[in-house]
Amino acid sequence: MAVAAGLGPRLDRERFQWSSLVMLSPALVLLGVLFVFPVLYACYLGFTNLALVGSRSRAYDFTGLDNITRMLGDYVFIKSSWLTIIFVVGSAIIGQTVLGMALAILLRNALVSVSAVIGSIVIVAWVLPEITVALVWYAFSQAGGTLSILLRQTDTNFLVAVPMLIVSLANLWRNVAFSMLVFSAGLRNLPTEVLEAAEVEGASVWRRYRLVIFPLLKPTIVTNLLLVTILNLSEFTLIYAMTQGGPGIETMTLPLYVYQEAFVFHQLGYGTAISLVLVLIGAVFSLLFVRASRSQV
């Protein structure tokens, strides 16, 4: 044992080392002050009548369940919740997953040159800043814009005629690369023996996908669903820059409504309460997906 004494600290993973705390502490301090504390503070502010200006900006009260009761009678909130669910289900859960899978499969089977070019274009759309996507889709859907010319209805501003559809399409356009990359990686990692066996047995393309490939990809599909739901639930910039929630409240999803109540109508307390509902919706979706992933293999 006399030899071991001269070797300095052991890299024994079962022993706590103070240096680990030293290295962790800067991150813990920043997360504590500007992440954990705001989360807890939000849980409190959501039950107060805090305002942005006026007397209630300084002297605000804990109002119990007042904000919740107010929400239940607030038709904008009800509509906003529905719009959020339509947006997430339509643009992310269905749109992004189906188109992402289709693109991944097509890219795998198309000519190498075609795949390389189209794959890059789809990824560029994803890498662009959201504000740029908002601008190009704003231009695309205006009266006299490219879409109106393609559909031969040059007098129609599609952002006014079908705002939710256009916003969902723009979001799909931007985010589908994520699902495409996830599914491409999933397809690449499939065991080749199984695929070859199915091919040798003479299974048709459709049967191969339905009975072999999709079941094997199930964990990837569930992970993709979970991630796109969480990412899209909090989408703000794209919708806000294109429509500010309008026309009327036709695209006022919950993140936009939080912003409007808090910083336009100066109702910080009520706005925060709405954001808590948004977190709750995210938690419910996540639980559903995690349960689905565990139900069967």
Partner: protein, 290 residues
């Protein structure tokens, strides 16, 4: 010979039939993919064409070539100052996030930390929380501390909100560095910090690059946080500036708007191209939910 008879004949020639079927479906695959590609290309083309068009419109059209739009934008003080703001904001956020994530990820990957598994789960959960939830409390904290309208304090919150995912990403990269090298260095008597600096750091460069670039791309496009936390015109980063221009109908020409967003998008595209070389394995999270 009728078509049915022709197919029957072809059925007997084993080589011809599969070849024909494959070529039809291969053609369909490529055509569908190209059509989908057009859906992705068309909105983008508008920005590129309008930026060099002397007389642009909302629709894509063959441009009357000019570089006047570029000259316009480069001559605008507000456009330049928003680039400066974005650089400060995204640069500070990136340096802070990457440094803190590296320091935190190393012990999380290598050392014995009580409740490490729960800690990583909390970190993962935290990176999924919507910013909308944090905007109001953070605004209140910033009012209280007198931190509003500064790019550096705004970067501090951007760093805090990007830290959970950065730690998670960085830990996965460090996990992949072989442990034997560190054991060897430790047996030779190197201190923990020396091991980190001289052994782990050089091997983690790709991980650091990916984390830094990912953080930078997000901070470069951040909108709601600077939108709420800053108000002076000279502190507005690119996204807020573009948003303001979009709203000021007529004050800002189509062509200038296209040039501005094109120039603003270029850095992240270049960075992504650089990062994608390292990033190929990052999408393999088959069973990550379990």
């Amino acid at each position: 010979m009728s078509a049915v008879a022709a197919r029957r004949l072809a059925d007997k020639e084993l080589i011809v039939v599969p070849y024909r079927r494959v070529s039809v479906s291969a053609l369909a695959t490529n055509v569908v993919l190209i059509l989908l590609g057009c859906f992705f290309l068309l909105p983008l083309l508008w920005m590129v064409f309008a930026s060099v068009d002397a007389n642009p419109d909302w629709a894509i059209k063959i441009p009357t070539p000019t570089l006047a739009n570029f000259a316009d934008v480069i001559g605008r003080a507000d456009a330049l100052s928003s680039f400066r703001s974005s650089l400060i904001l995204a640069g500070t956020t990136t340096v802070l996030t990457t440094l803190l994530a590296l320091l935190a990820a190393y012990p999380l990957s290598r050392m014995h930390i009580p409740f490490r598994r729960s800690f990583m789960l909390v970190i993962l959960f935290a990176s999924g929380l919507p910013v909308s939830m944090l905007v109001v409390p953070v605004y209140q904290i910033y009012v209280y501390l007198g931190w509003l309208d500064s790019l550096y304090t705004t970067a501090l919150f951007l760093a805090a909100s990007s830290l959970p995912f950065a730690i998670w990403l960085m830990k996965n990269f460090i996990d992949a560095v072989p442990l034997e090298l560190e054991h060897a260095a430790a047996i030779d008597g190197a201190s923990t910090f020396r091991i980190l600096r001289q052994v782990v750091l050089p091997l983690t460069v790709p991980g650091i690059a990916v984390t830094a670039i990912y953080t930078f791309i997000n901070a470069w496009g951040a909108f709601i946080i600077p939108f709420v936390l800053t108000y002076s015109p000279e502190n507005q980063p690119g996204p807020v500036e573009i948003y303001n221009f979009m709203g000021s109908h007529g004050l800002f020409k189509f062509g200038d708007l296209a040039v501005f967003s094109l120039l603003f998008s270029l850095p992240v595209i270049v960075l992504y191209l650089f990062m994608s070389r390292y990033f190929s394995g990052a999408f393999n999270f088959g069973g990550a939910v379990k």
